[in-house]
């Protein structure tokens, strides 16, 4: 394993400490239990947004704490959902009277831990569960689909509404709309390596890719030979459009997300391929986001997310945001 690391057990803490120091103008990292909060206390009467999940997906979620987005993020160990005491401490820390909205990615571990945290918390709270990964078949009998990169969009858009005095109900409503309007699928060229395992999560041949990979390096739809970017992007978009079934000339946000180890040049090339294909299918790209936002450690690969946009979504997407990893308008 080649990583900047001192001791495996200290990896998360030292990384969080560095994060806290590098961004002390906007956030504060709290330890035992671990959570990243805004530097300034959330204003009275504002709905508080708390998200979290296993670490290893940086900048998600700590990098999204700040004005116009999250109030707190609870980082678990690498690829392990955070524990209920983190959520409880986070909730008690931000409590501003208007209620708490937990934004949770749809994994058993995350759901159970967030639920327990919410149960322990005595004030008003609710939750949104994101499940945008179209690689997985949806079904009410099973755990359903995974929550992946669209979580970033949910956090931004709900964050804006919350900042703009949206009620807990309205925040939940727009968050669920964004989640429902979004679909994501990813591919991996290489595995990631967790500090604890010290070796790759999965083996993959020099000419293979995992189509529909999960953000923990979980297997996807199928293992395939690597193809041209155009083909890969085409297959991903087919799967997403199949799910979202947009109207003709539907306005969409196109989000090309790097898994961590793929250079920007390639992400922009993917973006270009996606634009061309979407144009030919009568989709109008109205907003875009390209970069590493919801990663899987050093995995090489990318995911594409499409989000159907209405006026309300666009307004809240465009609103100012000031976090470590996403910033505009201020």
């Amino acid at each position: 394993m080649k990583k900047f690391i001192n001791k495996t057990d200290d990896f998360l803490r030292e990384s969080l400490e560095g994060f806290g120091k590098a961004h002390s103008d906007i956030i504060k990292v709290n330890f035992d239990p671990n959570f990243v909060s805004r530097k300034n206390k959330t204003k009275e009467g504002k709905v508080s947004l708390i998200s979290g999940g296993g670490s290893g997906h940086e900048p998600m979620h700590g990098g999204f704490v700040g004005h116009g987005m999250l109030d707190v993020a609870c980082p678990g160990f690498v690829f392990s959902a955070p524990s209920p005491d983190q959520m409880l401490a986070a909730a008690e820390h931000v409590d501003s009277g208007a209620g708490i909205l937990f934004i949770v990615k749809n994994y058993s571990g995350d759901i159970m831990n967030f639920q327990m945290g919410a149960e322990m918390y005595s004030q008003k709270s609710d939750s949104i569960v994101t499940n945008d990964d179209v690689a997985v078949e949806d079904s009410t009998f099973t755990t359903g689909r995974r929550g992946v990169a669209a979580t970033v969009l949910v956090e931004k858009i709900v964050g804006s509404l919350a900042e703009d005095s949206g009620s807990l109900e309205d925040c939940k409503k727009i968050g669920e709309k964004v989640n429902k309007n979004a679909g994501t699928m990813g591919v991996a060229f290489t595995s990631c390596t967790t500090p604890e395992a010290g070796k790759p999560t999965f083996d993959i041949g020099p000419d293979e890719m995992e189509f529909g990979v999960g953000i923990h390096g979980e297997p996807g739809r199928k293992r395939e030979k690597i193809q041209s970017s155009k083909k890969i992007v085409g297959n991903i978009l087919d799967a997403i459009l199949d799910d979202l079934k947009p109207e003709n000339n539907e306005k969409m946000l196109l989000f090309v997300n790097g898994m961590g180890g793929t250079p920007l040049t390639e992400l922009y090339l993917v973006y270009d391929d996606a634009c061309k294909i979407l144009q030919s299918k009568g989709v109008e790209i109205t907003r875009s986001l390209v970069g590493n936002y919801c990663t899987s450690l050093e995995m090489q690969g990318a995911s594409i997310t499409l989000l159907k946009c209405d006026e309300e979504i666009l307004k809240n997407w465009d609103a100012p945001v000031h976090t470590a990893a996403m910033r505009w308008g201020m």
Binding site: G54, F77, S83, P84, F141, A197, H216, G217, E218
Partner: protein, 208 residues
């Protein structure tokens, strides 16, 4: 059953899990995200480290401390589930009296019931519950029996059979549920770790 018994079991289990760590890790790499064994090991380490803090506490207090450690120290699905297990054990009535075999069974049955409610997984969904629910059912059965040794050997066998049976299942709960057909042919990591835990405890009771 005493707090010291709990601690000594934790130590036994720690040894067994360590010995089988590469296998469990590989199982979670196959159909999950590879962290299951590290989660379990982290939890066991924390419990063992509690020894001095809890060894003189009453059972319910000790169990609550264990529950909090497990809940806050593990994370992931296993943290929530095992934490729930201990929280619920601690809620069993009359824990301040001497805890005999039947009472111990009752505690475990309570713990497993709470896990079932927390995770909403029944038998046949390819999770640790495939091992734990049948074990719990068997314990209900043997609570008032006398020939405990044979019964515990049966428990060991049930756990093992049910663990192995997860191999050919489709998964409908937890991370492996996302895999559809591709989950088939792999034993569930949580089922394997739970089975090892059950086996370790049963064996040490038998050898007492």
């Amino acid at each position: 059953m005493s707090v010291n018994f709990l601690i000594s079991q934790a130590k036994n289990i720690q040894k067994v899990i360590d010995e089988n760590a590469p296998e469990i890790e590989a199982l979670d790499q196959n159909i999950g995200d590879g962290d299951h064994v590290f989660n379990v090991q982290r939890g066991l380490k924390l419990v063992v480290e509690l020894e001095n803090t809890i060894k003189d506490l009453p059972m319910d207090k000790a169990l609550n401390m264990i529950a909090m450690k497990v809940l806050s120290g593990i994370g992931g699905s296993s943290g929530a589930l095992f934490g729930t297990f201990f929280m619920s054990m601690a809620k069993t009535t009359d824990l301040n009296k001497n805890i005999n075999f039947n009472k111990a069974c009752e505690m475990i049955i309570n713990g497993i019931q709470a896990m079932k409610e927390r995770g909403k997984a029944g038998v046949g969904e390819k999770t640790m519950m495939d091992v734990l629910i049948p074990v719990s059912d068997k314990l209900k059965d043997i609570k008032n029996k006398n020939e405990i040794e044979q019964e515990l050997n049966d428990v060991i066998k049930i756990a093992k059979d049910r663990m192995l049976a997860t191999k050919d299942m489709l998964c409908t709960k937890g991370r492996a549920s996302f895999l559809g057909e591709r989950a088939k042919g792999h034993i569930d990591p949580g089922a394997r770790s739970s089975q090892l835990i059950i086996e370790t405890i049963c064996k040490s009771v038998i050898n007492q």
